[in-house]
Amino acid sequence: MTIVEAASAPEAPASVRAGVFRHVLGQPQAIVGLAVVSVFALVALLEPVLISGDPKEKVAAVFQAPSSAHLLGTDGGGADMLKLLAAGAQISLLVGFAAAVVSALIGGSFGLLAGFFGGKTDIVLMRITDYVLVIPDVPLMVVAAALFGRSITNIILIIGIIYWTTTARLIRAQVKSVRERVYVRRARALGAGNWRLIGKHVLPQVAPLLIANTVLLVAYAIFAEMFITFLGLGDPSLISWGRLIENAFTDDAVLNNAWWAIVPPGVCVMLVVLGSTLLGQAMEDTLNPRLRVGHLSVRRFRIRPVPRTEP
């Protein structure tokens, strides 16, 4: 339609489908985020190929400083830190992504149902959401981990069950607006059932936002996994970054001046959290209408010479 509209509002809803990913990847922070997360994901996936043998195996003296043989030195058990980090990446990312997916499933369903059906359903579901939202995260995680045992599945579920509330609220708001769109009302007037409306018209419209939100949740989940494990409530048989930090503390790495046993896992957590936050935020900026602030920017246009008209 109008070219001018297209120029001043490049995120017109109609072109969202085609433009989202191009637009997301047009933002430098998204590329950085995606690159960081991809590198770690690659390491986690290729860990069995990259690393031979048990990473916990003692290969050198305890707390050996970084050297050409062991680039990041060894930990309190004499195991190679680099190998441990790679192994940790696998568990930390697995927990992070799986917990984020659990959150997205719960939050997405709550938001979708509350927003779409409204009325009593909305009140009940959002009241539940509010209760979960006000429970302090950390004590709940500690109690839950202590009660239900320290398996990795439990950790994933616990983190997932705690972080879904913001997703539910975000999706509910979006669904409420999509539900009132004319094309949804038209399909309803034609006699389309609720599940058709949700599946065909509403969910596809909110799915990109849900995905963006899930990417953001990965950051929270990895962080949560780190401190649960650091508190000694993680799965004792598995190596994760949180576990490496916990081990470093229990083995008195600080007293031994072995910074290489603590800093690298911390840096890894920080990088992944930063990466997925950057990527998730770039996606959300593109998709969440409430975050669009382009119209608030200072208007400064440019001046150029008048083009010469051909004779």
Binding site: M1, T2, I3, V4, E5, A6, A7, S8, P10, G26, G294, S297, V298, R299, R300, F301, R302, I303, R304, P305, V306, P307, T309
Partner: protein, 325 residues
Amino acid sequence: MRAPLLDVSDLHVWFDLGGRGEVHAVRGIDFSVDEGERFGLVGESGCGKTTAILALMGLLPPNASVAGQVLLAGENVLARGEDSAAPHRWSEIAMVFQGAMNAFNPVRTIGEQIVEPMELHDVAEGRVAVLRARELLEVVGIPADRAARYPHEFSGGMRQRAAIAMALACNPKILLADEPTTALDVMVQAQILELLTALANDFGLALVLVTHDLPVVAQVCERAAVMYAGVIAELGPVDELYHDPRHPYTRLLFAATPDLYGDDEVVSIPGAPPRLDREPIGCPFAPRCDRAFAPCPTVTPRMLEVGTHHLAACHLNERVVEAVS
């Protein structure tokens, strides 16, 4: 001859699409408006009419670039970009935006919002500003005591009047109104158009009315420019535009507009306007024109004087001129 109040020459506006090329939305337009004159800028969506007047205000987004000259009482508003546009904005040239009636802050009174531009531009302050706001409300036909009310207590028509009062806050010489009556009912539309006409007549305010609605321009304006694909197709007194159109687009646009008592067939114009992300070759209207001939698809028509203060950019006029000379 005195110089006109507003003189626009060879105005261009481009929008950078961030890696996807650019759109040449306004492609060199010329027009002028005198004191107290009511001038219409008509065209369909995407023809560049809104972009053109936003350029006059210096209110374009950062991805825009502008060329040409906008003389406001002899001074070029566009000479130094924002720096030269800002001093004129509101104080000499003001605008009622499209949908302005829905753009009030809901938690502040109408009076406070009319005072705001006065304080920002050091026109008036404190009690003086408040009194002036009340006076302005009276001018636009709202009882002064309503200044203390909130936007939601106003109807759509009243909010549009308040938006006009807000535009008048700094005593401008030119009022640009972008589709001021589009979302309003006919009766309220008539009231607003009556008000705008009165402002031009009584206060010597120059009015530039931007709209897609030809009959509104026909009833309110003295002269008008018909825009198509970023250029002016025809410019002249509204009476001649209707009775003696010299561009097929003007004629077809009138023919596509139903009239209450007209008995001619209402016909649509086939096709769609060209895309402006590449420079059109020849006359931009040629593919939809019912009288296109040999030069139209390849040669860009010149703006020719076809009558007193009547200009049109169409090859058909060229032939007439040649035939006469």
